[in-house]
Symmetry: C2
Amino acid sequence: MSIKPRNEDPGLMDLKALANAAPNLKTILNEKRINAAIVEASPLQFSYACSQVNDAVINQFQTLSDDWKILGHYDEVLAGKAVNQTEARSVSHHGLRDPQNKEAIASHSDITEFVSRIHDGDLLGYTDMPFDTVVQIGIGGSELGVRAAYEALVPYATTQNGHLMEADFVGNIDPDGCAITLGSVDWDSTLFIIVSKSGNTLETQANLAYLKASLRDDGIDVDAYLKQHCVVITGNGSILDRPNTYLKTFSLSDSIGGRFSVMSPVGLVLLSLAFGSEIALSLLLGAAKMDQNAHAKDVKKNASLMAAFIAYWERVCLGYEAVAIVPYSESLRSFPFHLQQLLCESSGKSVTVDGKPIHTPTSRVVFGGAGTSLQHSTFQMLHQGPDTIPVQFIGFRNSVCSDSPDIHDKNHDALLQNLVAQMTALAVGNDSNDPRKRHDGHRPSSCIIAEALTPDVVGALFAFYENMVMFTGALFDINTYDQPGVEYGKLLAKDCEGSVSDTRLQAFLGLFT
Amino acid sequence: MSIKPRNEDPGLMDLKALANAAPNLKTILNEKRINAAIVEASPLQFSYACSQVNDAVINQFQTLSDDWKILGHYDEVLAGKAVNQTEARSVSHHGLRDPQNKEAIASHSDITEFVSRIHDGDLLGYTDMPFDTVVQIGIGGSELGVRAAYEALVPYATTQNGHLMEADFVGNIDPDGCAITLGSVDWDSTLFIIVSKSGNTLETQANLAYLKASLRDDGIDVDAYLKQHCVVITGNGSILDRPNTYLKTFSLSDSIGGRFSVMSPVGLVLLSLAFGSEIALSLLLGAAKMDQNAHAKDVKKNASLMAAFIAYWERVCLGYEAVAIVPYSESLRSFPFHLQQLLCESSGKSVTVDGKPIHTPTSRVVFGGAGTSLQHSTFQMLHQGPDTIPVQFIGFRNSVCSDSPDIHDKNHDALLQNLVAQMTALAVGNDSNDPRKRHDGHRPSSCIIAEALTPDVVGALFAFYENMVMFTGALFDINTYDQPGVEYGKLLAKDCEGSVSDTRLQAFLGLFT
């Protein structure tokens, strides 16, 4: 987009100059700031009171946003421009939750119809048993987001129409993992979903082969079984695109990247089977609200844009190399691992969209887990370790279940008190006389706040981070949507098969024989 | 231990001077190096062929090890010296697996006897049902290591005497998480283990209260139930130490830190219940072998010492701020999260053991997950991202299960080919003409190799990292065994209860109401 490298841009130099006078959280954090530093983005709020920014910094965010036409990149994405230049593809995941998008509506009603035939018992297993379990075979973008969304929705579903089907996942090529999962399900009542856009993902092909071998070992007619138990989600014309072989085939567009695919059939089929189509629809509506919010030109009104600028500021101007993402919700325990893929794979690049070297850092190390559990593992380091590591908290005013109301509310209060205490402790520190108990403070965080972990909020959380990484990509001037760095390892893995010519590969393989 | 700060030590200056001439992996990696750069530590091997070290660097490791008396610290630990100075405690987890240690033998036979009464049906639930499920209520060190060991042992147990009891865990205070887990178990056949050394861990008390409330809601006599279904593991004299209230109480010594407790009753009771006492015993024997290896004075013969020096070199001399731990085993998927706690909580300090400021960096950000799955999330960043992030691989020559032998072996071969390919790709890189496909290479890694994920190997892996963090702590000259940084947040959380005086805490709490 830009002609001169970002690092020489006078606007960025102005922003960097502000880093030396970054406000100290120990002195500026007060009641007024806490109540003012909020971006409203219903159903979410984004609090940046504990980020190391002030008006001067935010004004410069606005200048860069306007000068670099960051929202223009979003417009280009929506207009179907081939923003994924290396793969000559457009990027269409926003369309999946656009209520006006006819393709999305058609796809969703196709899913709804199929799922209701399963739930109604119109489609049964090969021994005429109804399906009660679904196992998704897919890896990376075909696993992480779906697993995170599945776990996130369990409490809500339990309070509503119930949890209609149990779900499990097989991603890893490790045959011990596949054996344990397949050994735990009942062939009679399990539906399998095979997901691979290209159709030839190594792990997914290997695990499909494992499934077939296991069925054969158990004396089951494999072809007949696949025709009754196996759903495929793949790109048109892929090696898996053989509708007559499987119970049902859903098509996946080239323009949906794996890590952006949770609201495509990749996620929606499993989530609709597990929880019903209405919950899946709420997910889309929540995401659509965040996509709307992402159009706001004012950084102070655009939650994912503000979050992207803060990430950029922390990485490029303040030099912080990692970020911890900590939802205070056990049901979001796997959400940080989806975000690890989304953020690290999208921004882990060292060349611009035009293939030129980048002279600023790009992706951060993303790690995290559910609070309060993570307080007992990494928070010692966050408070007193050598590096400043910003934290992104996520918290909910209310819990979802209410099985034992009194104790439930009491424990949820304690959960929130811990969140608030950690945010405050990181920011303000203390000056204990005992050096071992001293906290320097001025350690930044931000917090996403929502009412409760309902399906629309889950959808909004996914979209918030998808849009944030789209905006940070535009700030870094990189291609957010490709992953060329993972191809080379695949090539070398291929070289390890049969007679190996590279003596280094040969020697390493020798250590394992 | 040392009088002058480590950063002014001439030996460290000599090591730092070598960083400018660190060997380039692109040129030095060859067959000879791969076969030579191995520390033998049966049942493990530690390969450092892809670490950025050469003879000069390793010789300087040896000099520092001798000059700083790093093995002397291990001797002090074993001698029962109060090396955990801030808490005035000795550190006795090595004794747990010392085959000569009478206390450990007595504790283990107490566990074995109790567990066999459960397995034999001598002890039954309140409706006379045998126990088939165990739920451990505990957080941090009472959860992460045990969960990782439990998952690691499932495949082996499945091939042996079977998987005797299913296990689940409740750690987080989030009541939605607790409700889901308690809702999924059968009161009749579930045994609960409550773990808290102090007895008053916030989360564990809250979840025990939740358990009691749920039992009451279901019309069950709580006192009678706890007496028949509830095991407690706690310190002598703690608020939970009431043997007449519970089915069985195991005592936990003050000198066993939570993150080092997996081979104490904290881990062994659950693991013995799940898999039988013999498997638990093998775990101890594997750990004991690593404790033996950790006595070797020669860095090239001491696996955890070599790993500690490489970590120190990468952090202090080369400036790498993070490490990815990637076992190529689905069953070790949670092991990196145990290690995240072990390494970040032990080394996330900024003062020396004497309370003086440290002038070198200490802990690294630890993240990871199981390969090949992690290849699809963070490896793009590891290959082409802005920072050099060392990787610690773990791989196994053979798989454990062999349900469908042909495809099982084929998929395990593919797993290892991927490990070898990634290690090589990171080290040697490529010079593609397309800048987007270029890999700089010279990105370091190491690899732990073992025959298969058997119980002795699981024990050895835990002990390897426990000893490694003990040695890095001695190198940093910090107290590895305390966690003062987590206390402050607990104090502020307490301040959030009732009428809140701090206006910042008040304002944050206001955002959530």
